[in-house]
């Protein structure tokens, strides 16, 4: 065990929580407000990554600039998916929603395969992708730092929207009581539409980040999706602020194990899911 790497491990872990929070926040909205378990959320990441790639290839757009286009595009895609299918299964059992969104995911993934092929792609020129600042012997990466800041802003912003705006109050109202909200005159369907589009928009932002860090492929969303689900559940459904803490816990643990244990990086997923499992079980027993 090499303790000299400990400071770097802590910094890397804290910063990595940014990306985890970023990919989780949209999913939290979908599950928390609409109550939809969206199995196609990972494909929204994938579409976001590919759109950023395409904007770079076609127009030379930097991914940061692409954010301005990809986010609304994903919102539109999300809205269209909501209007054409999701709204019909809102009151259906969870399992029906899972099958529906799983089907949507397969469609998106294989459309991407037709359009972009299966080979990993590269957004070739991202000037800040390899940028790191040395602070007291520890390296701080520009991309992880950026993801961290963006996700903090998004989580805080979303929390504020939910807490302090009429739209947010409407979202919380329908989240808590679907029938009641309908009775007091809220247009439930419109609130859901906005929430789902927003969820897709947030996934699009995460997707652009993934496209910067990794190679866009039709299956690029998969690794993040399982983890995003787990983080949302660890935070507790509907608990947007809890995402920060949940993401920080697992990201830090992953980084520490990856650094301090031999072959530790290969244990990342084991550590991640072991924490999720233990916390969920422990919490359920404590409550009772």
């Amino acid at each position: 065990m090499d303790l000299s790497l400990l400071p770097q491990a802590v910094v890397s872990g804290v910063l990595a929580s940014g990306l985890y929070a970023l990919v989780s926040v949209g999913l939290a909205l979908a599950i928390g407000v609409i109550g939809i378990v969206n199995f196609a959320h990972g494909e929204f990441f994938m579409v976001g990554a590919f759109l950023a790639y395409q904007l770079f290839v076609s127009f030379g757009f930097d991914p940061l600039l692409s954010l301005l286009f990809v986010a609304p595009a994903l919102a539109v895609i999300g809205a269209l998916i909501y209007l054409s299918s999701i709204r019909f299964v809102l009151k259906a059992p969870e399992l029906n929603q899972m099958l529906l969104t799983f089907g949507i995911g397969i469609i998106l993934q294989n459309l991407a395969l037709l359009i972009w092929g299966g080979d990993p792609r590269t957004i070739a020129n991202v000037p800040y992708r390899s940028l790191g600042f040395q602070v007291g012997g520890v390296s701080i990466g520009a991309v992880p730092l950026g993801s961290f800041v963006i996700s903090l802003v998004l989580v805080t912003g979303l929390y504020w929207v939910l807490a302090a705006t009429p739209l947010g109050r409407a979202m919380r109202a329908v989240a808590q009581n679907r029938i009641g909200a309908g009775l007091v005159g809220l247009e439930v369907n419109r609130v859901y539409l906005v929430a789902f589009a927003l969820s897709a928009l947030l996934a699009g932002l995460g997707g652009v980040m993934i496209g910067v860090i990794q190679s866009p492929t039709p299956t690029v969303g998969l690794g993040f999706t399982l983890k995003a689900f787990a983080i949302v559940v660890l935070a507790g459904l509907g608990n947007i602020r809890g995402i920060v803490g949940a993401a920080l816990t697992v990201a830090l643990a992953e980084s520490l194990v990856a650094t301090l244990v031999p072959n530790g990086d290969a244990l990342r997923n084991m550590v991640f899911f072991a924490i999720i499992f233990v916390v969920l079980v422990w919490r359920s027993r404590r409550v009772a």
């Binding site: 790497l5 990306l19 299966g118 080979d119 792609r121 590269t122 070739a124 190679s215």
Partner: protein
Amino acid sequence: MKRIIATLVVALFAIAMAQGVTIGVLSPLTGGAAGTGQAQKAGFELALAEINAAGGVLGQPLKIVIEDTKADAATGVAAFEKLMTEDNVEFIAGGYSSGVTLALVESFRTFQPVVSWIGGAVSGVGIDGFDGIEELLGAEPWFFHVHPWDYQNTEASTSFMASTGVKSVALLHEDSAFGGPGAIAAAGLLQNAGMSVPLVEAFKSTLTGGTGDFRATIAKAAASGADALFWIGYDSDVVPLTSQIRELKYDPQYIFGAPPGWPSEFDAAPEAQCVAGLIGYLPNLPNPEAKTFLDSYVAMHGKAPDNYMAALAYAQLWSYADAINAAGSTDQDAVIAALESGTFKSPMGEWSFKPSVIALHQGFGSEMWNVFQFQNGVREIVWPLARATAPLQSCR
């Protein structure tokens, strides 16, 4: 009833035969390995067009039937049995994924068609208690293996590392069946060649559930003080790995990787500078077919091949066409003899089937491998020296 159907089947079979030779292809066209499958498909399509433009096989146009395996074992077996019993092919091409290949062993042995197999590089040689593809199928007279075996990949990698004159190597490898078993062997070979290996470290690839944060692993490599970094992972790991090496200001003398392919457009990324990699096919290889292949590939598919699997598939189909024409019939023994004795052209130069450790018919060996280095956006061949287009540059 049975007799009528039997007669019908025979009649259909006869019609199929009269219409020329059909080769059955198994390839992962969808799912996580779709990149490889699509590359193979593109290579087959190009070869098919050229073969038929050159007069086809036995005077008839050659046909191929491509079946998707999804890189899934059960799907692969069903697809193979469809080719054998519905399409009635006598020759099998394509091939990828050790899991699928292991599942096909029994079925291959039952039907014993001529199987020319690109992928499934896990030989099993040197792994105690595990029977790999070479151990299970290599001695079969009808089995032809095109892609180098895992130990041949390792051999090429270590020879290159030894040629650089570095004293120590940090070895990072992904932890699944692709990078896991080979890493130990690679470390041993490096040490035999006189280099020290202060770090052998597994990481979770982006292809097998990882999220592409390799900082912890890279920090360990940096701390190991090794002169060079050698990593075995997938093509989707290239971008995160090379960018994070720079982010963490890790500066080994050489950064050398052995993924199965390189991501499209990575050549133009600044992170690519000075990164070296193992590759089967490059357009700037000295043999003239390398450039011809590139040109006709671009003419047909509108872009350069991203993955050397396209060149291997192309070479594989051409070897079948040449061998069947040389045999003068589709008689299995004659075709096997022609495959055994023939020398074939390919984008990688001339090749033939030779014995390997166990296999009777191994196509490309360690000599297929080249090491290229990204030098100012160009993939310069730096090893072996006989094919080099530029000298290897230090990253420092």
